[in-house]
Amino acid sequence: MTKRTNKEQQLINYLLNKRNYIPSKEIADAIHSSPKTVYRLIKKINAGSSGGKLISSRRGIGYRLRYTNYLSQNMNLTEESLGELTSVERRYHILRQLLVTSPEKHKIQDIFGSFYISESVVSSDIRIIRQMIQKYHLVLHRRSDYLWVTGNEKDIRTVINELLIGDDDISIGHFLKSNDNIHQTDASFITRQINLIESQLNSTIPYPYDVNLFSHLYILVERYHRVGSLVSNSDDTEDGLKRAEKESPQIIRALRQVINNISNYLHTEIPRSEIFNLYQYLNSSRLEGKNTDHRHEIGTVNAKEMAVTRVLINEVAATHRLQINREALYSSLVKRMKPLLNRLANGIRIKNSLLEQIKLECPALFESVSQVSQEFKLPTIDEDESGFITVYFAQAIEQMQRTINTVIVCTTGLGTAQLLKTKISNRFPELNIIQTTAVTDLSETITQEKAIQLIISTLKLPKVNDIPVLICSALFSEEDQDRLSKLISKIKSEY
């Protein structure tokens, strides 16, 4: 990593304190430069950074720091470099250390000593970290000169997960580029376990579920490395495991093998409850069969999942008066509802790397999704999940906008109209030809078919409400095709 200028560091520091994409104008104002300079600085920063771009950009939206890359580039922190961290970086560094070793107690001097900061800054950091972890039901303790974090193991792992997995493009491969040799070994081991699960179930675990599962196992291994066993076999997990063994024996066999491998890897006995925890993660994911024509899901969709999906679709469609194919949307969305509800029930979060883009492009749809959680008394669907659901609606809308409901008219409705129907369907698949009709029956057709968006006729017609009409020859010449193409573009732009 090349040494940075003051301006470059100012830019990075500004982005460090931001979560979303920031427009170049805002960055320029913050560092007293021009947007052109911002562009030039970012280009230089990215060129000089090893292990991937430091700052990602989205056209029309802005720039964002890829925090995980930033951290990994600064992983081999020397005493000297520790002192150069911003306050945000410092707090993340400290929190990570406390979480991974929780509930171990650390001397405050040992944690903060490398940062060369005053007592008041230490107190301020402690106060801020305490606030940060409060929402996860974790407690930061300070007694005498010691600092430590306590809380439910599940919550601890959740927060580590959030710190570990950034919002940028993430993949399992990213973890394998770690500079730390021990971590790299762990990461390779865990990848092999995920491959084992996939091969045992003859399925693949797609993004982002693979990243989620990876991070769960990675954190499990890290916690057992540092602290040892922190979960016990409770009655609830035993019951849950028995049920899972009955419902999904093949999956439990595969997961049992994985936990066994981890036990051998760590030279320590891993409790059976970890099998159940892993099962919950897998149950909150989607599996895809190796045969692309066959999708393999865990379990079948139950009545609640079907009801939630129906209500979701009806509520959102009614709120926005969406003209969508509800059945097609239901078919695709209901399959995702089971893992989603499992995730909500088990407090498992999945990062949505497209969240900001989704919020920007479909803000109203995004807001509507939360209604379902209120109606069904579900835990609040978080932004990441709302984002995933919004994409389904956006795709359904786009699908409908792609097709223009068309009627073809000729003298009889049986001859030229049919011939044109074939030619037009081949050339313009975005036209949904709902009817071919005789010119004498056109008024009745318009009355019956409310959603006509285009009429193509071989004969001149009187004005037909506000429906666009194209007159073309039976030959459907190139000129006819050209005019139709232009008309289609015009119609689409209006919708």
Binding site: T416, L419, L420, T422, K460, A474, L475
Partner: protein, 142 residues
Amino acid sequence: MKIQVDWERYKTNEQQELLYQFGKSQQLSGIITDTGRFIHEIVQREQLASTIVASNLAIPHVRSSNVLHFRIEVVKLTTPLKDWEGYQGIDRLIFTLVPLKMSICDQQECKQFFLNLGRQEVLNLFSHGSQKDLKDYLREKR
């Protein structure tokens, strides 16, 4: 079968004469009631918009009370027409005669015929295919 092939039966290259001969033949067969009305309605339709679908093929059609029974006749001329509504080179025509009321079967047959005609290979067959090829095709589609 409601779809017939007339191969070089009509020895004229004049539009009006062709329509007269064809109309007469249909009247004698009981397909239409009046040849004069038939000619008028076919020409009127052609003037509204051309039914030429290939360089040498037109699909003139009429739907009226003058038509008693559904019929499709594929006509191949010995020599191309001198003039078909201002266009030269037409030597094949597919006449479609549609009564005001049509059975569901006839409607389906008619629709399917023209749906297939929209495919390029079928259009090529009707524009340039031999008599045998045409008859084989129609037999196959029956």
